[in-house]
Amino acid sequence: MDFTFDDEQQALREAVRGLVGKRYGDYETRRRTVAGEPGFDEELWQRLAEMGVLGLPFAEEDGGVGAGPVEVGIVAEELGRVLAPEPYVAAVVLAGGLAAELGTPEQRSALIGPLAAGETLLTFAHAEAGSRWQPTAQAVRAERDGDGWRLTGTKEPVPHGVRADQLLVSAALPDGGTGLFWVTGDAEGLSRTTSRTIDGGRSARVDLERCPAQPLGAGGDATAAIERALHATRVAAGNQAVGTMESALRITAGYLTSRKQFGVTLNTFQALTFRAADLYVALELTKSLVGWATMVEAEDPDSLADAATRASLQVCRAGRLIGQEAIQLHGGIGMTAEYAIGAHTAHLVALEQWLGTGSHHLGALAVTVADHAEVDPIR
């Protein structure tokens, strides 16, 4: 087992860090960007496409680069570090991953090439009222209409659901199971309303009223593929969260050494520095587990569900701790939108809301606890 990155991976990290750091290194720019629509920087998105980053996980024949989860994780971590609001994980990893896995060659070439080129923004409309991260759909139903299909019902929340040019939509099939469909942004019967998430992201309510849709690939039950894609997304989002947490800790440590109270800098107060030390511990543990899950996804895909759940639990635990303590250690300034730290906390919350809280992941692990004698990470 080896946690070190090779030179090419290192170069990728530096290229991405350079690009997004230049754009969002000044937090005020990030704040301005998320205040306007579509909530991210279209130009930066193009630059990421040019850099090949949007095509990383896809096969070359589909218009991608043929890299893997480790490279995706590097990109996600660097985006997380500066709270870049670009929908990389949602569009490329989740929606793109589903298109790549299930799509016919024609669908793949229609969706993935343009996605990788930054021409088409893709999203996966899946969550529904009352759903809690399960891989199935109930509220949106698919019905046959001649040779084609129509979807009816409401999806909410859908990441960047209004800006998206193309949507993949999960829907309950007439004979049971959950199918996956491609709905174009201009389809009849499709209406969409956007709103801000707590971290400045975008989420939509998507209403479908007998909306024409094309099954992805051969059609049929896609539950297992959806579940796999959600787990791969958790791994990528875990990398993104690591970047955010590392940044939060760096900012907090910097604040402790510069802010004065009672005539001395805050790092004079041992009760505060010890808590910062505990944050570092949490961060290191999270890096290890997320790194491992990323390698599991790359080399031992059968264990992806277990590894992604384990990494997510740790990410959620550390995210709460670091998110809460980073604000507390700042004091009042940590509560203000002008200052960067609170947005880190908010972003960690939004990631959990999207992909599952610690309680959710722990519940999943608890039911399997009697199935194994011990957890052995070494393969």
Binding site: P157, S195, Q261, G334, A337, Q353, S359, L362
Partner: protein, 385 residues
């Protein structure tokens, strides 16, 4: 040791419960229960109803509207109010500037301000914290220089909660820069419509506008607006902050949210999840212990001075307030992403509110004497460390 309320106290409690749930408009109480932000009018309307019935400032001196209640009765009043979703009388008026004026102000200042303060005819803002004076409040730098029968005030205050509604602001200002920092501070009342006074909003991480900066540029304040003696303001501030801590443990409100959270848990099918049930049970027990401690401490502070254990109430009260908001966040799950979607979203209001409320309540352990300050007080004052 006596568990049961006396017949008199039981009747008192019942009377309050009836009053709060029938006399304060349901619309206001529902807004509180839904954890919405209240409008200025709602605050004012509610406090005037309380004041008319003698329920706004029961802890003030009797001649200014106080009721001479026992500490247990004050506790029952506070709890029943929160339980019914009645907004507490504005703390800046009822718990802060009012008691200071009543204790240290001249007869003239009392007559001028106390009735209007009790009735929320004047909305007070608090001008204590400054950018470089947070937990270390005494290092404040806003100055007030005597010029004839006025003070001329210059400087900046921050974290002024609901300052956008303020009519007047009570400020700690430096009136003597030559002495040790606590010794040169005075307590001054300033009309917020004065020329040179500007209120600027601060956006918070939950997207709300709840606190402000207040800037003073050569603001002229009549000298008669000084409360008590010149350069004694630090003593009055300590008196005030002691009061503040007692009121700050939001036991009843947190209990109410937890009771709501059980309904929410049932709604999302989580109440029969054993982990969720255990988490709720533990929170209920923690809140029970806090509530009982509030009663026990109230009974031991009959001389009007805060019991040192009131730091326990602030510290633990905010921890539990935050823990319950975290429970709500977890129950809301993915629906919390629709936090700013408004009524157009399918997600119910409680789940949309869960995200901003969770973030907003991070302030609870920072404002009003941070939990670090409370630990310091406990360690020093009580444990002698």
């Amino acid at each position: 040791m006596q568990l049961k309320l006396s017949a008199e106290d039981a009747a008192f409690r019942e009377e309050l419960r009836t009053f709060f749930t029938t006399q304060v408009p349901a619309e206001i109480r529902e807004a509180v229960l839904a954890r919405r932000e209240l409008t200025k009018d709602q605050f004012v309307q509610s406090q005037r109803i309380l004041n008319a019935a003698g329920y706004a400032v029961p802890h003030w001196p009797v001649e200014w509207g106080g009721r001479n209640w026992t500490e247990l009765q004050r506790h029952l009043w506070h709890e029943e109010m929160q339980r019914a979703g009645v907004p507490a009388p504005l703390a800046f008026n009822a718990s802060m500037v009012g008691p200071v004026i009543a204790a240290f102000g001249s007869q003239e200042i009392k007559e001028r301000f106390l009735p209007a303060t009790a009735n929320l005819d004047i909305w007070w803002s608090q001008g204590f914290s400054e950018p470089d004076a947070g937990s270390d409040l005494a290092s404040l730098r806003t100055t007030a220089v005597r010029d004839g029968d006025h003070f001329v005030v210059n400087g900046q205050k921050t974290w002024t909660t609901l300052g956008q509604y303020g009519d007047w602001i009570f400020c700690l200002v430096r009136t003597d820069a030559e002495v040790r920092k606590q010794a040169g501070i005075s307590f001054l009342l300033i009309d917020m419509t004065s020329p040179g006074l500007e209120v600027r909003p601060i956006e918070l991480i939950d997207g709300g506008h709840e606190v402000n900066e207040v800037w003073f540029t050569d603001v002229r304040v009549p000298a008669e607006n000084l409360v008590g003696e010149l350069n004694k303001g630090w003593d009055y501030a300590k008196f005030l902050l002691g009061n503040e801590r007692v009121g700050v443990a939001p036991v009843g409100a947190t209990k109410r949210v937890l009771a709501e959270a059980k309904k929410w848990a049932a709604e999302v099918g989580q109440l029969d999840d054993p982990l969720t049930a255990a988490r709720i049970a533990e929170l209920e027990n923690d809140l029970l212990a806090l509530e009982l401690t509030a009663v026990r401490v109230a009974a031991n502070s009959a001389d009007g001075k805060p019991h040192p254990a009131s730091s326990v109430l602030k510290l633990r009260g905010t921890e539990l307030q935050q823990a319950v908001s975290e429970l709500a966040l977890d129950l809301a799950g993915p629906a919390g992403l629709s936090c700013f979607a408004g009524e157009g979203a399918l997600a119910p209001e409680w789940s949309r509110r869960s995200t901003p409320v969770y973030l907003n309540l991070r302030k609870a352990s920072i404002y009003g004497g941070s939990n670090e300050v409370q630990r310091q007080i406990i360690a020093r004052t009580i444990l002698g460390l």
